[in-house]
Symmetry: C2
Subunit: 192 residues, 2 copies
Amino acid sequence: MRHDRDSVVDAALRILDEWGLPELTMRRLAAALEVQPSALYHHFANKQTLLAAVADRIQEAARPGPSPALPWYEATLAEAVNVRDALLAYRDGAEVVLSTRALGLGGDAAHERLAAALRRGHDPETAGLVATALLHLILGDASLAQQRLQADSLGAVAPGTPDASDPGLVFRLGVELLLSGLELAEQSARVE
Amino acid sequence: MRHDRDSVVDAALRILDEWGLPELTMRRLAAALEVQPSALYHHFANKQTLLAAVADRIQEAARPGPSPALPWYEATLAEAVNVRDALLAYRDGAEVVLSTRALGLGGDAAHERLAAALRRGHDPETAGLVATALLHLILGDASLAQQRLQADSLGAVAPGTPDASDPGLVFRLGVELLLSGLELAEQSARVE
DNA sequence: ACCTGAACACCGTTCAAGT
DNA sequence: ACCTGAACACCGTTCAAGT
């Protein structure tokens, strides 16, 4: 049986979700496809490029954007939840997207969603910057939350981890404070 | 020559700063100490535990805290800068702290600094939560900024990266919006 | 307490060669 | 275009044994 890039990414996503990122090796992926490890290098130049394709698929699986009628605050909040949910939908999804983005690989779907929502009420430059800050908060929070799931399942106890009783509390608080700070800055600029 | 845990961490920090996290292998560390790889397992149970000790040292190297006279807003801003600077002081420092924290290993020095500053103006529970949100923003932003340095030095071009012209712009904007959102929430609570 | 020597079970990647 | 087979240069970790 022969494969193309898409089917390789399919198999990679299945291994990622079932076994986690450390188990997603080129050799294991090749075995799942019943192929030699070297065959994978026909489809992707190296493992990082493959992971970038995986990251893109995780981001593109997010829910459709909010209704165009929603004002910027509510639209951005909704997109933040959409992005976070997409990252959490696959095991270790946040870490894959974080490291891919850090290396300058892969697409920009998550950032663009947040920026588009913010542009409903702000100039493009501000929207881009705030989208980046939001995305960093979401990526940092989601990868910590996700890796903690693993650590917990292995019996480890994390230090100072307020998320345990209400997962997502820090995320919601952080996003809402950031957006209300933005609203405040906008209002005081209008008064001047 | 014989070594203890501290001297092993010293050597690990030197390799980290000079060569980066991917090059910080147990075998390379052993070679730098002129010792067999297996000797390292006398000092640390495994590589993750060693990295946790490295992460603690990075966090503890932060500048002394702000003057006790400063109000919570300014004190927290100052500590956020201190924490970020400490993470950026060693190559890949943010990533080491992020992954260690995610696994529930290592200490909590950075979080505690932020929480202590916030407690100057807020109840301990709110201070803890906001400190976590701030730390996630800082860790996400710093590890992306740091890995981008590597990517850039290899000639890669990152997509949608507003930080290029002013490094730290997203960090400052994010932290200030978050804190002014908190100030706003506090004022409206006082009116009610 | 701290280390050696040797081994085990893996990695990512390359490359000539096949169909 | 897609893959095999074999190899290269690495990993983290274990364990009996040494001083």
